[in-house]
Symmetry: C2
């Protein structure tokens, strides 16, 4: 495989947390980049620096708008499909959202690729597709899982569609199963929730579940190192890679790092129960040997990733104002 | 679990091959049965005998018609969701069909269940979700597969949705991963194709692939014995069961049985290649130990199942006239 350098790349969700960081990295690799985003969970500020680059194009569009999607993709050789409804916790309140934005949205992206003759897709899937796995750390070829959330079910459906398109239409794909990603431009998830709660009441932090849930996190630049390495080095027709960290921490530990970084010593209180919400997994830890075999290794510790995230939020509190 | 006898059951695809046979069995168990079918691949003749039963209701409706679907399901305690686009071979010619009828259709059925408070669903999935498995015979907890057809991808998406609904909304489900089913009312698949080719030219039979593909088949009444047993005996929140046969045959063997049953000795010619079409699997054989552990065992041999199918077709050639 030639490197992705200087390619014309299409990034759905290109103004989101992971997508916009990817855009910056692709621009650094001399790529032309078209970011496609509906700004439902993204921010113009995240692509403010990219906008100064003449190789960057921003399209304000929805992946459910099949016509705009197809015309915007013209001339691209690589699609990074990172747009998604990522609201895992509240999926049950509006079950059609994951279906629409994640499953049908992925179908639309694949059809636009077919219409434009784009041969390659990178896809942001999730470690949640393993449900509550028997094998931990969980490898990519874990036993056939049972889904526990609408979000993961919709991502699994997206994976299946991509795999069938690869087989049926001669495309290639790399599917990334992410653990939770942290770092600059992080804008939803537990660090966000804890930060906001502590801003409202610095003396007390209420935690969903019992605080003993074990979670693994990966720093955004480590994540992007892996993605760009896999794009260049994966030789499989469909490459599937877990992106995670060898370490994990409890929710209590993570809350402690957040509080310390903020210089606070709140009392922790607990909602109780092994799971934070329906579909939460008490122990999430992905095996990353397959990605490591390509030569990748996370450089930033989970503790540093949490602290970096908190510090970014301290400098970007405007994100809170724009979030419900 | 109480038995399903005397329950009010909703059967999508209830005028199709497997669905209509299930309807007859449920009526034999003193159930009330609502069959819901759009007759895109079904036949009024298949529910002709059921229509004589006062416990039977037929609704001519599409699972994409969410309103009719929800009102028709009122008062049912069990949903057997057997409606599907089952045209595996030609999926690539119209990729939206599997998404619409199988994935979105299943979502619609689940939403109709939620609206009506129906707590239980039985789902016709497929052994094709295992792709080209490394482990043969393939157990339900085989390594996480890669999809090779749009049909299987859409069924996998349906499985995931059902599992997430079970977890999120407190339903229960039994998911059946079928091998190819044969028997009375069979109306598409290789026996159908071979029968039709031999009717056109009794001296020659052209076979897709090299004839060495190994396939397993299950007789419809054995299949329904398993389904009804699993409904009564499965105690898991989500039960997943392969439905297949311990034996398998090559396509050549199967073609030979068909020809012999018809009293013909055609010359076989071959399209060539290991696979009959893109997404075809050269070796399909499901492990059935999990279903056997509930006390089930197929009674009809594959040879007898093929011969019974041919004999049914001989007496029902009208099916050909109504099929493209």
């Amino acid at each position: 495989m030639p490197t992705i350098n200087k390619s014309r790349c299409f990034v759905t969700g290109g103004a989101g947390f992971i997508g916009s960081n990817l855009v910056d990295r692709l621009l650094d690799l001399d790529c032309e980049v078209v970011a496609y985003d509906n700004f439902s969970a993204s921010f113009p500020e995240f692509v403010a620096s990219a906008k100064g680059n003449e190789r960057f194009t921003l399209v304000n569009g929805d992946i459910l708008d099949t016509e705009l999607l197809a015309t915007s993709m013209a001339g691209c050789s690589h699609v990074f499909h990172f747009a998604a409804n990522a609201d895992v916790r509240h999926g049950l309140e509006h079950p059609e959202r994951d279906l629409q934005h994640n499953t049908i949205g992925t179908f639309n992206v694949l059809e636009a690729m077919r219409a434009n003759g784009v041969p390659w897709i990178g896809f942001s899937s999730t470690g949640s597709v393993y449900g509550e796995p028997e094998v931990i750390p969980t490898p990519e070829n874990a036993p056939f899982p049972i889904q526990t959330s609408l979000y993961a079910a919709s991502k699994l459906a997206g994976e299946g569609l991509i795999q069938a398109y690869v087989e049926g239409y001669g495309m290639r794909a790399v599917i990334f199963r992410f653990t939770s990603i942290l770092g600059e431009r992080y804008s939803h998830g537990h660090v966000f929730d804890f930060y906001r709660k502590l801003a409202a009441d610095p003396k007390r932090l209420h935690i969903l579940g019992d605080g003993k849930q074990k979670k693994s996190y990966l720093y955004i630049q480590d994540c992007l190192d892996a993605i760009l390495m896999a794009v260049d080095r994966c030789e499989d027709k469909v490459g599937i890679f877990n992106l995670g960290h060898e370490d994990y921490v409890t929710v209590d530990t993570s809350a402690g790092i957040i509080a310390r970084t903020l210089g606070l010593s709140p009392e922790f209180t607990y909602e109780g129960g092994e799971r934070g919400w329906i579909g939460d997994n008490p122990f999430t830890h992905l095996e990353i040997k397959k990605m490591q075999a390509l030569g990748w290794q996370p450089k930033v510790s989970i503790e540093d990733a949490v602290a970096k995230t908190v510090r970014w939020m301290q400098g970007n509190e405007w994100v809170f104002d724009q979030r419900q």
